[in-house]
């Protein structure tokens, strides 16, 4: 057994060993799902403890935002509100998940520094916990779309089922992003604020609350934005539309790349995380 956990002194590395440990960590953490499920839910609860609505405060905030902006922009852009409001509500709900994953992926180890130093758990537990927590928040927010769909009589039919693979891709990406940005954000404390700004900018650049067809001359600008494709594979099915092959292709390629990069990165720096946190 060769030991090369020291990323600092540049000891040559035994990749098969590191990858075995890294992948082992990811598998073991999956087996300890009761830990990250419990902690994930606990974190959401903690934020809204002693308030009457609990996590539904999030939903209420977003609901008001979606209602107001949906109506307002449909007037400005001259869109049909029956199409635009459901479109915007899904945009906000899914962006809430994407933005949450982006923003918090770099905080997973700094936020849990105490547990990391007190107990030996597989370190990918914290990445699963991130995804689970965001999923719980998402589940609350999704009730907005249910209400909107009822009001406007939207029923996506069988096409709606296409949302499932897209949604899984989104979650998988969030997990692997945590394995990359988590260690990075722990080692370099400038990363979390940088990510916060980047997420903010991406929110405006991605067609969350505007439709791509309103910018026909900027089609390339939209098509090169990976977040557009990720949003499309989950939003379009729920509106009864089939995402394009390009949407699917881009998402699949990016997910594969993300997973591969994350596996190598996490395996390489995993053992350093307790020292950095």
């Amino acid at each position: 057994m060769k030991n090369c956990s020291n990323a600092i002194s540049g000891v040559p590395c035994d990749w098969p060993y590191l990858l075995r440990r890294g992948l082992g960590d990811i598998v073991q953490a999956l087996a300890r799902r009761e830990v990250w499920m419990y902690l994930g839910v606990q974190e959401v609860r903690k934020q809204y403890r002693r308030s009457i609505l609990g996590p539904f405060w999030l939903t209420l905030n977003m609901g008001i935002l979606v209602g107001a902006l949906g109506w307002f922009y449909s007037q400005i852009f001259g869109q049909n509100i029956a199409y635009f409001l459901p479109y915007v509500s899904l945009g906000f709900i899914f962006w809430g998940l994407i933005g949450g994953l982006l923003n918090e992926s770099c905080l997973i180890y700094t936020a849990s520094a105490a547990s990391i130093r007190q107990t030996a758990m597989p370190l990918s537990v914290y990445a699963y916990q991130l995804v689970w927590r965001q999923l719980v928040i998402f589940a609350h927010n999704f009730s907005i779309f249910v209400i909107v769909a009822l009001v406007f009589g939207i029923w996506p039919g069988a096409t709606g089922l296409l949302v499932i693979p897209g949604f899984l891709l989104l979650l998988v990406n969030g997990f692997f992003l945590g394995l990359i940005l988590g260690p990075l954000g722990t080692r370099f404390r400038d990363i979390p604020p940088i990510m916060a700004s980047v997420t903010q900018i991406l929110f405006f650049l991605t067609p969350v609350f505007w439709v791509p067809s309103s910018l026909p001359e900027r089609a390339v600008f939209i098509a090169t934005n990976p977040f557009y494709h990720f949003l499309a594979v989950v939003r379009q099915p729920l509106l009864g539309e089939v995402p394009t092959g390009l949407n699917w292709g881009v998402c699949l390629i990016l997910t594969t790349a993300n997973a591969a990069l994350a596996t190598f990165f996490f395996s390489r720096f995993r053992s350093r995380i307790p020292y950095w946190a």
């Binding site: 020291n6 547990s115 107990t119």
Partner: protein, 257 residues
């Protein structure tokens, strides 16, 4: 068979200050070949230096040494929290680290929920904790207080609860970092009994402490750590004597200076 084997284990701790945590400084240093970081060399502390140990079933060992001698780092290596930067660690058996008694407690949730939270963080399964919740509650002697949020507890009550959860874990290797004895006198007697069965069930106990009395009560052998190295390993009294003699000598030197 429970055992711990350390072979030539070293741990280098990076000291990350604001400068080295900054991405900008790191990028700049990469772009300029590192010249810009004049006078701001990366600081690395060697917390453990070539430690080799072999502990077998039935060992009750105390860790002695100055502050910063490497006791806590060694416990973290044994617990599997720190992967050493050099050498090998092989442990056989389920490990229970008890380092910080207040770890895994949330002031806003009830005593019952804290039992679950702390239990989960200490590595118990959720069904396992639910099954033992009643038993833990009885040990803590908190009665109806368990329905109240932890923030309403006194310090001693919090400790009792934490202690009750910790000692409900059955482990082969028990790692304890000093300062575990707390709570009022009546509870302490009971705690001792609990700790006694807890320790007897475990195959190996490693206890880091500055209190000779505590060490005498629980340990038979001791390891003396000094600047990350093992300076002595043997029967408790022998090591304590050597350690105190050395302490006296160093303080004599300080006076003569």
């Amino acid at each position: 068979m429970t055992s711990i084997r350390l072979h030539d284990v070293s741990v280098d701790l990076p000291i990350l200050n604001a400068g080295s945590r900054s991405l900008r400084n790191n990028l700049l240093s990469a772009a300029t070949g590192g010249k810009i970081r004049r006078g701001e060399k990366k600081i690395i502390v060697r917390a453990l230096d070539g430690v080799s140990l072999e502990l077998t079933q039935g060992t009750r060992v105390g860790l002695v040494g100055h502050n910063g001698a490497g006791k806590t780092t060694l416990l973290r290596v044994l617990a599997g929290i720190f992967e050493p930067t050099g050498g090998q660690v092989i442990t056989v058996g389920k490990i229970a680290p008890i380092f910080d008694i207040s770890f895994g407690m949330d002031p806003e949730i009830s005593g019952w929920d804290n039992i679950i939270l702390r239990g989960i963080l200490l590595g118990l399964g959720i069904d396992e904790i639910r099954a033992r919740q009643q038993e833990i509650a009885e040990v803590s002697e908190l009665g109806e207080f368990l329905d109240m949020p932890l923030r309403t507890y006194s310090g001693g009550m919090t400790t009792r609860l934490a202690f009750a959860v910790s000692t409900s874990i059955r482990a082969d290797i028990l790692l304890i970092d000093e300062g575990i004895g707390a709570g009022d006198a009546a509870f302490f007697q009971k705690a001792k009994k609990l700790l006694r069965t807890f320790v007897e069930d475990a195959g190996i106990l490693v206890l880091a402490s500055h209190s000779d009395d505590l060490l005498r009560e629980w340990c038979e052998t001791a390891i003396w750590l000094d600047q990350g190295r093992v300076r002595g390993h043997g029967p408790l009294e022998e090591i304590l004597r050597a350690y105190h003699t050395a302490l006296a000598e160093t303080s004599d030197c300080t006076y003569s200076l």
